[in-house]
Amino acid sequence: MKYDVPYTGLPQQVAPIKQDLLAAFERVMDSGRYILGPNLARFEEQFARLCGTAFAVGVANGTCALQMVWQALGLGPGDEVITAPNSFVATASSIALTGAKPVFVDIGPDLNLDPARIAAAITPRTRGIVPVHLTGRPARMAEIVRIAEKHGLFVLEDAAQAVGSRLDGRPVGSWGNAAGFSLHPLKNLFAYGDGGVITTPDESLRDKLRQIRNHGLSNRECCEFWSGNNRMDEMQSALLLVHLGALDQWTERRRALAHRYHELLSAMVETPVEGPGEYCVYQTYVIQAAARDDLQIHLQEHGVEALIHYRTPIHLQPAAAQLGYGPGDFPVTERAAGRILSLPLFPAMTYAQQDQVADLIHDFYQQRPERRAEGQAICESTV
């Protein structure tokens, strides 16, 4: 289906830098060096600087960014890691596939891990905490890091959706012991296919991650430990370098559109707000709405591509059956799962497109005043 307001608009977004991208593409192609070359090294250096961390390691995708950190730590059966149940599945699967147990705690009104609930979930088996900066909004890192330090836990930030987000002026990716980022095409900094990055302030961890990424090799002839292949290629690195030059502009545009959405919509639905000290990049613009499913259909039918991230919380997925959770275990997450709706928000979006979305939402609640009332009541009850 062709939408008037699609969920993203990548071709329009990159049109102004197209010549630079094509030139970068051709340079890599002509070089004959396609893996682990100078473009990756430059990208890593610039990405680390962007995040205010000492080191960055470019990898194949955001999922393996998380997996590689656990591999470096030797996470495995008998271990537990605390995380949020309202994320993309990779947050939990990267823990579960090592044989360790993901232990979920519920979220706060910011839809991120609630620091107040963490202490109760810590056991002698807990090895780490994975706060997720969902939608590009930073989790409450100062409190989370304090808890982790007190209990001697490793903090792995799941920053898959949050390149450029900051809390109290400090970028995400620089708070924990390590952070995993995704550069998937639907992310605010994106590759043309899959891509990911790990940041860390720890040089020995960086060295280990580089080896994990490339078969456990310390050089071509010496294999220190058995490992796989999680490399980011030169082509993606070169294109990402071009994108890095445009990122600030893209982020500012996203933020301007988000603030405008807030003005247009906050009387009808619950819109995301920035808490004190937060700088959100709005990788996803998620409202919470009454009669969400009907609203989504209404938008879709009128040419607006609205999506849900994510309809089923991880603890209720069939994959999580063995963890022993059930409905009602995480009420804030479960209630939000029934109300969240991701509206189109992308740097190339026009105000006219945004108005179209707002008008449709307005019409929806005009035609269904009872729903709006229901929505408002819920909004008020959460304040």
């Binding site: 094509l22 955001g62 999922t63 599945v89 998937h184 043309y192 430990f225 999580a320």
Partner: protein, 382 residues
């Protein structure tokens, strides 16, 4: 004269068609699996004669995916050959299983006769490698696997274009894995891999596991991973696949010329047999040489980019310490590791360049005087 090992700037010298394809891809916005990946998978499956192809991010992931699909995990043993790339073992360890090595034969391939003594009650699978683009005695390995009740999973990473009795490498076992690393016969501008199988249920499981265990966007059946092939690399792979038969033919022409020249030096050089029933992909042209290290330096000094794949067999790597092997356990692989050299013989190497390599090797062993004599003998012999 220069004889380079890397041919990528020549192979991808003309950017135009790839830029065109890339524009199409960028306009489509299909960066996560999608039609370009699907059409490449269908094309590759039909090329090798498999029912299903599940593409992956690289050859290592293809092996991991195959092992996982076969149900190999903690407590299991997998028999493989000791002279292979690190990733063969990395994949076995990644699924939690224990690699059990066997020695290779004079063709650098898994020695099938070493398999039975390595079988224990914990053995679940045999993982033969089509090392350097050639093939082991796959039919013998299949018979042994059947006798012992084991699965065969082929590491055909270097072997697109290789056949035994007209059947493509990687299609003999339950599952086969391939790589499209830039220095493989079928290559892309980065990493890429494929797993093939004829089994519908395994294919179905692999497609899900590769993409987070998803049945659709909202339903996660089981914990999975992301090992997706990049769509751009699918496009490159698809174009290169059209040329594979030709480039393998050129590599074999070069290999035959090297074989003939090196067989004139039987005191110094051991050349592998080339069984008539095998088509080799010649991913790497390897032979064993006396005074290897000096010859290697000599050739490099003459502008010939010769290499060694690899000087240390896997059981003697630091990573293998916990497996409990020692020097002397695999005498053939150990001897080859001290003597083998990989010579440039890829599709862009000309007959003149091969002559230049051979002249230099003759000069190294026979001196310039001996070189003249040998030329004479060869001429008379003809």
């Amino acid at each position: 004269m220069k004889v380079p090992f890397n041919y990528l700037p020549q192979q991808f010298g003309d950017a135009t068609p790839y830029l065109e394809e890339w524009r199409k891809l960028a306009a489509s916005g299909e960066f996560t699996l999608g039609p370009f990946v699907e059409s490449f998978e269908a094309k590759f499956a039909s090329y090798v004669g498999a029912r299903h192809c599940i593409s992956t991010n690289n050859g290592t992931d293809a092996l991991i995916l195959a092992l996982k699909a076969a149900g190999i995990g903690a407590g299991d043993e997998v028999i493989t050959v000791v002279n292979t790339f690190y990733a063969t073992v990395g994949a076995i360890v990644a699924v939690g299983a224990k690699p059990v090595f066997v020695d290779c034969d004079e063709r650098f391939q898994m020695d099938a006769e070493k398999i039975s003594p390595a079988v224990t009650p914990k053995t679940r699978a045999i993982l033969p490698v089509h090392w350097a683009g050639a093939s082991p005695d796959v039919n013998r390995i299949l018979d042994l696997a059947e006798a012992h009740g084991l699965a065969v999973i082929e590491d055909a990473c270097p072997a697109v274009g290789a056949y035994v009795d007209g059947k493509h490498a990687g299609t003999f076992g339950k599952l086969g894995a391939f790589s499209m690393h830039p220095l493989k016969p079928l290559n892309v501008m980065g990493d890429g891999g494929m797993t093939v199988t004829d089994d519908d249920a395994l294919a179905d499981w692999m497609r899900k596991y590769r993409n987070h265990g998803m049945t659709d966007r909202d339903h996660i059946d089981f914990w999975g991973v992301n090992m997706r092939l990049q769509p751009f690399q699918a496009i490159v792979g698809s174009r290169v696949l059209d040329t594979v038969a030709d480039l393998v033919r050129l590599r074999n022409r070069n290999a035959r010329q090297l074989d003939a020249g090196l067989r004139q030096l039987p005191e110094f050089v051991t050349v592998a047999e080339r069984p008539a029933r095998h088509v080799e992909a010649q991913q790497l042209y390897m032979a064993c040489f006396k005074r290897r290290d000096q010859l290697l330096q000599f050739l490099i000094g003459r502008g010939i980019e010769a290499k060694v794949h690899y000087p240390v067999p896997l059981h003697l790597q630091k990573a293998a310490a916990a497996l409990g092997y020692k020097r002397g356990d695999f005498p053939v692989a150990e001897r080859q590791a001290e003597h083998l050299i990989t010579l440039p013989a890829h599709q862009f190497i000309t007959a003149e360049q091969i002559d230049y390599i051979l002249e230099n090797i003759r000069e190294f062993y026979l001196g310039t005087q001996g070189l003249g004599k040998l030329e004479e003998t060869i001429t008379v012999g003809r």
